[in-house]
Symmetry: C2
Subunit: 250 residues, 2 copies
DNA sequence: CGAACAGTTGATCGGAATCAAGCACTGTGG
DNA sequence: CCACAGTGCTTGATTCCGATCAACTGTTCG
């Protein structure tokens, strides 16, 4: 996570929308994205229905309740998806990074809002076109189903975290997830870049900013992590952090 | 939910496992189960790979970490799925009722445990056979994907509940969900039967038994509900309860 | 430089967890 | 039939942790 360091520059900044011509084949995150299962020729079919969109940090991608006419793939940057209560309380249900698919769990309307956390690039597909494509390509279908299943597994892990874990355990689990995500991308697993603010983290872990901040300092004081800058975390003692997180996967 | 009142008796009690001969076509919950999309002839293909299993209240269906060799459909009774922390804390991630599908969100191993809350009957399919079947029947595939999406939506709703709602809001939301479930089945939406214990409810809502109990009495004292017996709830003021729940869907 | 914002730290409060009885229903065996 | 144990639920007293309120620091950027 966090890290789209290279991809940010590599992709043309582009206008806010333009049809792709040769984008997909040179896409940096293709091997992990939803499109990875498509052959070069099939990829052109996908490319034909793809629009490339740029979002600045903080911009809305879609709101909860909007008609869900599009599906997305994050090609760079970080995205948050969230649900809100009428009085303004917010629960972030997930952070998405380069390669992640966006748009599952939506019937006619999006069941959650999505915003860019950092500047981000997205591939946008019209839902109907994408469905047609999925009809023709079994591997794409399988991929989509697997993604839904993975998200469901992650959601259950998050329910355990939200319902039953103490603040320290929550934050430790969160940092370890980011660490594992780094590993998946061949990035140093001990150096974590936090694209999101403390408030985002709080709204993801079911805490307040203050508690998140205090918990960071507690972990730092215990020498489990260090905090060279506000958006960087170094994991100093993975084993101890894993013990605190209280479980293997989440 | 709760309510399998009729179906409990209607289905043959049966041994703990036996091959189905004519079960599916007369299945009481078929119209809402995963098999509803299959034609009579296709249904026989499903029936061929189906085993019928009975579980007594409290019995384990599978444990977290077991190899996920089977998929299930609940044909009667109530089931809980849950995750545990090493020290015994438990988070129930869902209750399943007649017609519900069980087994999504599992790779090689089940990512959660499943137990019968009440006596229950289950249709059990071997995973490989079911996958073969799904390969042949697009509508079954679609149905499965839609179920995964629905569960994902529900999971996000539950994350909002767990991370951001106060006990009263949690319980109100829970009761309204059960009420809506009743409606879906043509049962009186104001009369709710609770198959699960207070402890189950606590572990589902991220609370303790005591808090659940106190919250029940608070809602009763405010005349929003009444509690004729420990496992029955009458919703007296749906509007007020909806106000407290703080959202439309969950 | 200073305004705006993000983050930390401190002091206090409050509500849910915890600890501890007591109650109500169920089923068992005498 | 009743005594009794076992279990699930409620209620009360107390504790404690995270939320809240508030002040201050540090960073960014005009």
């Amino acid at each position: 996570m966090g890290l789209n360091n290279t991809s940010e520059k590599a992709l043309s900044p582009g206008g806010s929308a333009h049809q792709g011509t040769d984008y997909c084949s040179q896409c940096e995150v293709r091997h992990l994205a939803i499109c990875s299962v498509l052959e070069d020729e099939d990829l052109r079919a996908l490319e034909a229905i793809t629009e490339h969109r740029s979002k600045k940090s903080g911009e809305t991608i879609f709101d909860e309740g909007d008609p869900s006419n599009h599906l997305f793939n994050v090609s760079s940057g970080t995205v948050r998806i969230y649900k809100m209560l009428p009085d303004g309380r917010r629960q972030i249900t997930g952070f998405l990074f380069a390669g992640d698919f966006l748009g599952l769990a939506s019937a006619e309307a999006y069941a959650y809002g999505a915003e860019a956390v950092t500047d981000a690039h997205l591939c946008r597909f019209s839902k109907t076109s994408f469905q047609d494509l999925a009809l023709r390509y079994p591997r794409l279908r399988k991929r989509l189903f697997d993604r839904a299943n993975d998200e469901l597994t992650a959601a259950q892990e998050q329910m355990l975290l939200l319902g039953r874990k103490a603040p320290q355990e929550k934050l430790a689990s969160f940092l370890l997830r980011l660490s594992r995500h780094n590993q998946k991308w061949g990035l140093p697993p001990h150096e974590i870049k936090l694209d999101m603010t403390r408030e985002d983290i709080a709204d993801y872990l079911g805490l307040t900013v203050e508690t998140v901040s205090r918990t960071f300092t507690r972990l730092k004081t215990s020498n489990l992590i260090s905090l060279p800058s506000r958006n960087r975390v170094i994991i100093e003692d993975t084993d101890a952090l894993t013990d605190i997180a209280e479980d293997i996967s989440g």
